[in-house]
Symmetry: C2
Subunit: 191 residues, 2 copies
């Protein structure tokens, strides 16, 4: 009987397949990034310190005259999720999007699904982002990176998506030095 | 009598003039930077974590094939001091060296003077360095910087040189966001 249960768990996993895609942020993603940063400010109870607008984000992350070099300077990754495979992965010469399929109990009830819809054609939804900068360990004489922000929208928290973003950054930037600080009360931040 | 003392302090300052110069690090400065980082490790009692060599510093700070863009990525400023004016200021298209004259009680007895001599012609000495990276405040939508290291050699500590380096970085990178951490026992770190 116990054996049967174990097998049944093996063949019929609870949850369903979710397609994920991590890609470099683009100017087209600014409205979503703005929403995400605001939701992070709400989550951190720091909305009184939130002054970003879509315009200021756009002109500082994607200045037209003097573009910020991706990875050499501060850089944003966006995480999208979808019930369907990603057909229209955003293309960028500096970074090939990371596509993964995960199986999990995802509540289909995402109150922000419409706001965070990314690609109209495939019905994908923005689930989170990370902002990171290059760093350098002088003791090791080794470049590394500093994770400034990692934020996953509430409907997608505690599913390993934060780690997925962290590992995507580490894989690209090297594992020489990983620095981050988790706000003390953010008990889910390391999960 | 009190008035006389005050005047005498005004006209005859104690100490002597010291010429200072903050400039972008160059490959020629690697041996000094290596010494400085090692002295910082000694000062922080962390020599067991010190693994930098002149070669690894050189290949990571100044990679020949794919140069690190100054200021867009991690960047090193070097502080030199001299009893004489700087005649041969290092030139760099991205940064004009900052020259200042300060009056202070400088012990002429610097045990590292010979090791840290920078320009043979003017007899200047390397006093310290700072290593910083670009950073970004998503709440403010504003680029800023992260001071990773500031180190001033022992003979030059407690004279405001650390602040001079910090202000040089802030003036160049903008005052949007200044982040640093002072090791708890480093009671002179903020002076």
């Amino acid at each position: 009987m116990v054996f049967y249960v174990a097998i049944s768990r093996l063949i019929v996993p609870t949850g369903r397949r979710v397609f994920t895609c991590i890609h470099l942020a683009t100017p087209a993603g600014i409205p979503h990034i703005h929403y995400l940063i605001h939701q992070m400010a709400v989550f951190e109870r720091l909305t009184h310190l939130f002054f970003a607008t879509e315009v200021t984000l756009s002109t500082t992350l994607f200045p037209a005259a003097n573009p910020i070099p991706s990875f050499a300077s501060f850089t944003v990754f966006v995480l999208e999720v979808s019930p369907n495979p990603f057909l229209l992965a955003p293309e960028n010469p500096h970074f090939t999007p990371i596509n993964k399929i995960v199986t999990l109990d995802l509540k289909t009830d995402d109150p922000g699904a419409e706001t965070f819809q990314y690609q109209a054609l495939t019905g994908t939804t923005v689930a989170g982002y990370t902002l990171f900068s290059p760093n350098y360990s002088s003791f090791l004489a080794k470049p590394g990176f500093y994770i400034k922000d990692i934020f996953i929208r509430e409907a997608y928290q505690r599913k390993g998506f934060g780690w997925m973003l962290l590992l995507a950054v580490a894989a690209k930037m090297g594992y020489g030095r990983v620095e981050w600080v988790i706000i003390k009360w953010n008990i889910n931040g390391g999960r």
